[in-house]
Amino acid sequence: MKASSAAQQRIAEQRFRHRLGLDLPLFYLSPPATDTPPQWQWHGTHNQYHQWVRQLLRGNLGRSYRDGQPVIALLATALTYTLPLTTLAAICSILLALWLATRLSVYQQLRPHALRLLYALDALPLFVLALLLLLLFANPDMLAWFPAYGLGEASEVTDTSFFTRVGTLLYYLTLPLICLTLVNLPHLVVQLDAALQHERQAAYAATARAKGAPEKQVVRRHILRNALLPSLAQLTDLLPALVAGAVIVEVIFALPGVGRLLAEAAASHDYPVVLGGVLLTALVRLLAQFLTDGLYLVADPRIRLRV
């Protein structure tokens, strides 16, 4: 009786492995193992990687091991939360960096202090920053200004008008947004500041000053445009950094986004979801690259595409 139930269990296990495609070899080649002939083996197209790529070309990323949902659907739902968060964070950090860097360029006496502050901010890992903000601003004992986690009650989200819904969403996204913005700010400002400092010495800036233009106008009208060009490359790194930052922020603030999906999938060995998430981040990187190259074309007429 006991033996047959064990055999049954093994058969069920094998059937399950077969259904998930886990009984196939991983890759085209496999190294020698203890129970195989002692040379490298060639498996042809009959392997997990080939099947995965074939399904990928058909737009199918497989199904999650945990709940059997298609990975694409899971990622799409999660993106509806992550996309607003990262887009807003990108816009906020870029605008803030622009404002701060031009400010620092005009008011030179503030520069050392501000840079030192940013330097310290840069040394703080994102999750520590998020925990600190959580402790300060979402704590009934300190300041309970913002909610600590989640995206609001179901009734708040569904039964109200569009604007209140967006308002609630923004209210719940405020702290995560602040975290992501602050963490990306130092790099952006430092790079932009270095470019601005470099351009300040240029002859055309001296000409503008000699004509009697106030420093503010010199910076804004003349220097900034030229300083922006070398800083554009920063954008390529900003978007992937935001995606990675979203993982931490979404876990801490319990937002149902791509980052948390990925972290949970990684913790529970849900490989199709992990692979889908990694693929998505690589796509974001490519997108950022294209975006930066496109912006170069727009920003600098001397750069032309050679086809």
């Binding site: 030192r116 704590n139 993982v247």
Partner: protein
């Protein structure tokens, strides 16, 4: 960042003395007369604030002594970050030097290495390590290998760029004209002049490894729970936000260490 702002003597001295203190405490931690061992569980006294009993810095959710965990966590951090940074820098110097020196003439090394760098760089580090850690819950050694895979690209890029400049210089042309074989030029003449940029980012990569390790431990996919780690303590805080001592001490140490390492790289 411009070096002028941060290049004053006492800051560097402070940074170095903090790092030495950290190193010392990590080395002598097993012989210190601590009231508790880091793996001593006391389930009767979980999440106690500092000063209760003889737990000077309080206890975590298993009743382990925070002071002991911090000290032994320093050991973990050093055991992971130092070898990673050293090996990554060495590998980076070697591969970056190869790519920059030989370019594609005998073998397409440059295309291969820059291509690998581009592939690794296309996925954010945290997500790459997260995905790889999902395959096998890492021990200290496997995590070291994982980190190594992603960290050699920084020094490799820098050394490659420097090598591209060095290889066009007249003295390289002179040794080439003297008939010395390529690998000897690379090892004796070109590399000794091109590896310096990698040294500048060395403290930064230590800081980055420390931050990444604590983040992974915090997310629960890092080292196994019995290994003492700063990130674990912070994760305990996240599940119990009233225990401020679980945030304050590890976060302060993390912050000061990161700051000191950045100071050194200036």
């Amino acid at each position: 960042m411009s070096s002028r702002i941060f290049f004053s003597g006492w800051r560097n001295q402070l940074a170095i003395s903090w790092l030495l203190l950290l190193l010392l405490s990590a080395v002598v931690a097993p012989w210190l007369p601590l009231p508790f061992a880091p793996d001593h569980l006391d389930l009767a006294a979980t999440v106690q604030p500092p000063g209760t009993g003889s737990h000077w810095l309080g206890t975590d959710s298993y009743g382990r002594d925070v002071l002991a965990l911090l000290l032994f966590g320093t050991r973990t951090v050093l055991r992971l970050s130092l070898p990673t940074a050293v090996l990554a820098t060495l590998i980076g110097i070697l591969l970056g030097g190869l790519a920059g020196f030989y370019r594609n003439t005998p073998l397409p090394v440059d295309s291969l290495i820059t291509g690998t760098i581009a592939v690794i760089a296309s996925i954010p580090r945290l997500i790459l390590v997260l995905a790889l850690a999902a395959v096998q819950p890492p021990s200290v050694t496997t995590l070291l290998l994982l980190l190594l895979c992603t960290y050699w690209i920084g020094p490799a890029r820098l050394v490659r760029a420097e090598m591209l400049r060095i290889r066009e210089m007249p003295f390289i042309e002179a040794v080439r004209a003297a008939g010395i074989p390529g690998y000897q030029i690379l090892l004796r003449h070109a590399l000794p002049n091109a590896w310096r940029p990698a040294l500048a980012v060395f403290p930064l990569s230590i800081a980055s490894v420390i931050a990444l390790e604590t983040t992974l431990s915090f997310l629960g996919v890092g080292l196994p729970p019995e290994v003492p780690s700063w990130g674990r303590l912070l994760a305990t805080f996240a599940s119990d936000p009233t225990a401020w001592w679980l945030l304050l001490y590890p976060a302060t140490i993390l912050f000061v260490t990161s700051l000191a390492l950045r100071q050194l790289s200036e």
